[in-house]
């Protein structure tokens, strides 16, 4: 159907877009503009003339530890300075959308765990809410509370990974252990409520699978108390650390316009200074009952929208999540946890898009049903996918070592990028 000439030829170098000269935004802090413009202009000419150039193209990944998965970045470097970047993704593409069309509604639930495996509860929630919208059912209140608790705990767990591995990327080894210590507690909480540590499949269409076991809510409360203490230590360990700040402040600045144009959501968008959080702006489930703040990038250590800001937004968000969990624990009542649904679920024909706030941004599920047991189309809008697409814009102009800082600050999960 598509003529093969439409498909550009295979081969990395030929498809590397050459940036027009003078588009580097980073001259104020780095004074790179003349350096950046000249080699590229020369490079363009030399590529046309097919002679050896001085810029080097090299692959970062797919097996690079700081790409957080199997991401391959084709970098063009002029000495130490990145002048172009092209991400290559799809290494762990598992056809989630195709599978969604061939399994039944409830059977798709375990697959949602597997795109953002660090925040599987949120993925379950997003998918369930989309199908529930089509079904038009009301969820019991207790189920909503448990969902919110789980989603927020999972957000903390996911941000803890972001915090720990970001330190690890930049050479701070210790915070990683501390972050995993707290995450371990979260995982064991999840293990108690649903039996799995990573791929929960717990939040389901119509509610949650099981009610919380006795004593679970008290343990969540204990975790919240403990976490607030530990959170301060994280800040002392990493956020304020001089080396860390030098590595992240003023690095990888993403302007508001870029952030919006590239469809960034979540902490990346808020790091650029826009207080937009779906939980506040378009509250779903119970979020309009709770009081919490939306942390935004302040430019406290450098420029608004730099790596440190994105990192800091995540750190602050953890505390906000604890606030939300506390309010849930105060408000939760006894009651049923699952709406009445028939076993062989038939979803009325129609289509629904539901976006929820995943730890990484807006996770959208667009489901189309033909009134059958299976979906006609199941589209997943992964936040990491869109957040990653800014790399070709954000990387040029940074130092090679800072590329790691930028990638880490965007906090991608390749499972979700590739789906």
């Amino acid at each position: 159907m598509v003529p093969s000439s439409e498909t550009p030829a295979r081969g990395a170098a030929a498809t590397l877009p050459v940036k027009p000269a003078g588009q580097g935004d980073y001259d104020e802090d780095f004074n790179l503009k003349p350096k950046f413009a000249t080699p590229l202009a020369r490079n363009e000419r030399e590529m046309v003339m097919d002679v050896r150039t001085q810029d080097m193209e090299m692959n970062m990944g797919p097996q690079h530890p700081s790409t957080h998965g199997v991401l391959r970045l084709l970098l063009r470097v002029d000495g130490e300075i990145v002048t172009g970047a092209v991400p290559y993704i799809g290494y762990i593409h598992r056809c989630a959308e195709k599978i969604g069309e061939s399994v039944e509604w409830i059977q798709y639930l375990p697959y949602t765990d597997r795109y953002d495996y660090l925040a599987a509860m949120n993925n379950n929630l997003g998918y369930s809410m989309a199908v529930e919208k089509l079904l038009g059912i009301e969820i019991p209140e207790r189920a909503m509370y448990i969902r919110t608790i789980c989603a927020e705990l999972n957000r903390i767990g996911s941000h803890l990974i972001a915090f720990g591995t970001y330190g690890l990327d930049l050479g701070a080894f210790t915070p990683f252990f501390y972050s995993f210590r707290e995450r371990e507690w979260i995982l064991s909480l999840f293990e108690k409520i649903c039996g799995a540590r990573l791929t929960y499949s717990y939040i389901r269409i119509g509610g949650v699978f099981n009610d919380s076991p006795p004593g679970w809510l008290e343990e969540v409360a204990a975790f919240c108390n403990d976490f607030e203490e530990k959170w301060k230590e994280y800040n002392d360990l990493l956020s304020e650390n001089s080396i860390f700040v030098s590595r992240t402040a003023n690095v990888g600045v993403i302007s508001v316009e870029d952030a919006l144009a590239f469809g960034l959501t979540g902490p990346c968008l808020r790091g650029s200074g826009i207080a937009y959080d779906l939980r506040k702006a378009q509250p779903y489930e119970l979020y309009n009952k709770f009081e919490f703040d939306i942390p935004v990038g302040s430019g406290r250590k450098g420029t608004v929208g730099d790596c440190w800001d994105r990192y800091d937004v995540r750190m602050q968000e953890m505390r906000e999540s604890v606030k939300i969990v506390r309010q849930c624990l105060a408000g939760i009542q006894e009651g049923p946890t699952l709406a009445k649904l028939s076993a062989a679920l038939r979803v009325p024909a129609g289509h629904a898009y539901v976006g929820i706030e995943n730890p990484r941004g807006e996770l959208g599920h667009f489901v189309i049903s033909g009134g059958d047991k299976k979906a006609i189309r199941l589209r997943v809008r992964g936040p990491s996918f869109c957040n990653l697409s800014i790399l070709p814009k954000a990387l040029p102009g940074t130092m090679l070592a800072d590329a790691v800082a930028v990638i880490g600050s965007i906090d991608i999960v390749l499972g979700e990028v590739d789906r």
């Binding site: 799809g90 056809c95 702006a281 959208g364 697409s389």
Partner: protein, 193 residues
């Protein structure tokens, strides 16, 4: 930007039975207003080209059908008009509706941060030769979404800067999310069955 709840949706029998979920939420852009904006004098298209598919029990969410030929202009208006200001394209999804109609739908989900509202527009392209203009010039994020749609549906986005497969391998044959796609028997000697 609260839109009036269900302004034109024909009331289904037993209106009380319509669940809350099937009504537009306060942040869904009123379809009438959206249509008025797009078809205003000097706008990209006139009112006859736009078809409102209202909210309701039949398909849950309402949307506007827009002419595929003018998609880039329409998107530009959607981004820049003070009433719309859709700065973010949330996702561009292809859907194969060839069972009902030999067409693919290209669906644009838009989000406005400034106005805190959402909208959904659709353009239809024939399945035999799916081609549409790129909106990469309007939203940079469209680049990857269009590549993905090309990858899965074979929709060619005219004017796209870098139209390659994105998730499937570069030498993959066929467009997997089309309804008449046949699974390959093997890929580079790896059995696929």
């Amino acid at each position: 930007m609260a839109s009036d709840p269900k302004p034109t949706t024909p009331e289904p029998k037993g209106a009380a039975a319509v669940p809350r979920h099937w009504l537009p939420s306060p942040w869904d852009h009123s379809l009438e207003k959206l249509k008025a904006t797009l078809s205003s004098p000097g706008g990209p298209c006139d009112a006859n080209d736009l078809k409102i598919v209202p909210w309701g029990a039949k398909q849950c969410e309402g949307y506007i059908d827009v002419p595929a030929a003018k998609i880039a202009d329409i998107c530009k208006v959607l981004r820049d008009d003070p009433d719309c200001r859709y700065e973010i394209v949330m996702c561009i999804s292809g859907v194969d509706y060839s069972k009902e109609d030999d067409k693919l739908a290209i669906i644009y989900h838009l989000l406005s941060v400034a106005n805190n509202q959402r909208a959904q527009i659709r353009a239809w392209v024939p399945k035999a030769a799916p081609e549409i203009d790129t909106v990469e010039g309007v939203w940079a994020a469209a680049n990857w979404h269009e590549r993905e749609t090309y990858d899965f549906f074979g929709v060619v986005f005219r004017g796209h800067s870098d139209l390659r497969r994105i998730l499937c391998p570069e030498d993959w044959v066929g467009f997997p999310l089309l309804k008449d796609y046949e699974f390959p028997k093997e890929y580079h000697g790896i059995s696929c069955v």
